[in-house]
């Protein structure tokens, strides 16, 4: 009886791994042929995306994704890390029990709601005060920053709390203030853990679809300023999938392949970084 249970559980674990394999398999099967046909270099770095003419260059989307993600990180990481340090070290204990779940709640809000808010409130604000179409890299970055905040805060708080108390006590015993101890001892010590969290947040930002569709403007071009409209890799797939056929559809799957690889690389890097001791 015990043996049967053991076998059943093994089957379950295998099927979970099989799901990943299946996803990779299907996406690759659909997407790789067109990538090879166009030429991988041409696909990744071609500036022209004109599927009706058979031109499949995704550089504009890659750059769009990069700009939007970078913006989200620039806005979100300092805020998130500062927040994490406050929660882990300086906030009164009772507040933390309310604040930490509250910030985690941000992760539960549907991305479409974020997008909606961006459209209703943020984009007009940008348009009237800073110019440009409003639906822009800046708008997308702001919203994404808020969306990845819970990830960064969550992982960073864990990283800071994992530091042995003796480090801080050693610093304090030598006459450091709380802030000095934090800046000179705990920040360097938790850096690798925080970095892992940032990379995870980056992954989330790159993978976000619905919110960016709604507020980034979706123009297919290479942007020149933060107020420009862009289209990300994910947005392109979502927008055109509805009516794409034949090679066009395959090219969208190929975009999926690129995304897949990128996330894999990010995950591996995050894992390596998190393991590194200071």
């Amino acid at each position: 009886m015990d043996r049967w249970i053991s076998r059943l559980l093994f089957l379950a674990a295998c099927s979970s791994a099989a799901v990943l394999a299946a996803i990779a398999l299907f996406i690759f099967l659909e997407g790789v042929p067109i990538m090879v046909k166009t030429g991988v270099g041409q696909f990744l770095f071609g500036r022209v995306w004109a599927p009706l003419d058979g031109e499949f260059g995704i550089l504009p989307f890659i750059i769009g994704s990069l700009w939007v993600t970078a913006g989200a990180l620039i806005l979100g990481v300092p805020l998130g890390v500062a927040c994490a340090f406050y929660l882990a070290e300086f906030a009164p204990r009772r507040w933390v029990n309310v604040l930490k779940p509250a910030i985690e709640l941000l992760a539960g809000i549907p991305s479409v709601v974020y997008g909606f808010l961006g459209v209703m409130w943020l984009a007009p604000l940008i348009r009237s005060n800073l110019g440009g179409p409003g639906l822009s890299i800046l708008a997308a970055s702001c919203v994404l920053a808020v969306m990845i905040l819970p990830t960064i805060v969550g992982v960073s708080v864990d990283a800071v709390q994992a530091i042995p108390k003796s480090y801080k006590e050693g610093a304090l015993a030598l006459g450091a203030t709380d802030w000095q101890s934090m800046w000179r001892v705990q920040w360097p010590a938790s850096r690798s853990g925080i970095l892992a969290g940032v990379i995870l947040g980056m992954g989330r930002a790159v993978g976000e679809t619905m919110a960016v569709i709604m507020i980034s403007g979706n123009a297919i071009h290479i942007p020149t300023s933060a107020l420009d409209s862009v289209r990300t890799l994910t947005a392109n797939i979502a927008i055109e999938m509805g009516y794409a056929v034949g090679e066009h559809r395959e090219a969208l799957f190929a975009t999926g392949v690129v995304l897949f690889f990128f996330i894999m690389i990010l995950n591996t890097v995050a894992l390596r970084v998190a393991r590194r001791r200071f």
Binding site: A17, L105, S111
Partner: protein, 280 residues
């Protein structure tokens, strides 16, 4: 000019506190904005009427039903599969390259953008297996998406049970399965349930995957093979098409209330169970 450490301390603490306040304010703003705009348009009729005129009128009952069915399928598949996998990884194997590989796979799966699950679900369930745009396709795709989350939280919960409990049970003659059910699972249950509830939350908010696999039919679904829309999808369509801001806000309000209720439920359940296990 060197500023005295005491002053740096005060400034630093202030800045940090402000960062935290900003984050919390963002949360309050988001929730408040939606609820303010939407609650006033909410009514019992809204929740129970069918979708009329592509959403300009009527209510959102089909979307609610669609959401419930899809989440039911997704969690019904992912929860048992995920918890079983976690039990296997945590209790039945020793750490080796096989478990490392499986875990790496699960971590990668957790990071894969949801749109990829949409593509995957489309190719496999909608086209290849012939389910078409249906709740079944949507539920299965969502299941694949939330599987890694459930496995990860469940495994963490299982590992956090002190190893001494296992030793005691084994020394009293418990078989491996008995050790798991009698002296590990009871204490890991809060964590496992949290993971499942997280999975439910993700399924409810997910839009891209659902559109690609379940379509966006406005009618009330009659079977798992029917196409249906979830609340998120309905909201997205209303918002994108600019069809009816009123109903959009109202749908968003329903969504947010659902998420809030689920989260609060999760926390209270966790708290209750943990207290129960602490001091009996």
């Amino acid at each position: 000019m060197r500023i005295a450490p005491a002053i740096t301390e005060r400034i630093a603490k202030f800045v940090l506190m402000m960062s935290c306040a900003t984050a919390v304010l963002a949360l309050i703003f988001v929730i408040g904005f939606v609820l303010a705009g939407g609650l006033m348009h909410l009514s019992w009729a809204f929740l129970t009427e069918p979708i009329l005129d592509m959403g300009r009128a009527g209510g959102i009952l089909p979307a609610i039903v669609g959401t419930l069915l899809m989440v039911f399928v997704a969690v019904g598949i992912a929860a048992p599969l995920g918890v079983a996998s976690a039990i296997y990884l945590s209790e039945y194997t020793i750490e080796g390259w096989v478990t490392q590989a499986i875990r790496f796979g699960i971590n990668c799966l957790a990071g894969v953008p949801s749109i990829i699950f949409g593509l995957f679900g489309f190719i496999l369930f909608v086209v290849l297996l012939g389910f078409g745009w249906s709740i079944l396709s949507g539920g299965l795709s969502l299941a694949a998406m939330i599987l890694p989350t459930i496995i990860r939280t469940a495994e963490e919960a299982l590992r956090s049970v002190p190893s001494q409990y296992r030793d005691v049970a084994a020394s009293l003659g418990a078989s491996r399965w008995q050790v798991v059910t009698k002296s590990v699972l009871p204490y890991a249950l809060p964590g496992i349930l949290t993971g499942i509830i997280l999975g439910i939350g993700r399924s409810i908010e997910e839009t891209a995957v659902v559109i690609f696999t379940a379509g966006s039919a406005v009618q009330m679904p009659k079977s798992l093979f029917d196409s249906a829309r979830t609340m998120s999808v309905h909201f997205y369509i209303l918002a994108r098409e600019g069809v009816s801001n009123q109903n959009a806000y109202a749908t968003a309000a329903v969504l947010i209330c659902t998420i809030l209720i689920i989260n609060i439920l999760a926390y209270t359940i966790m708290h209750q169970m943990m207290r129960g296990k602490r001091a009996v």
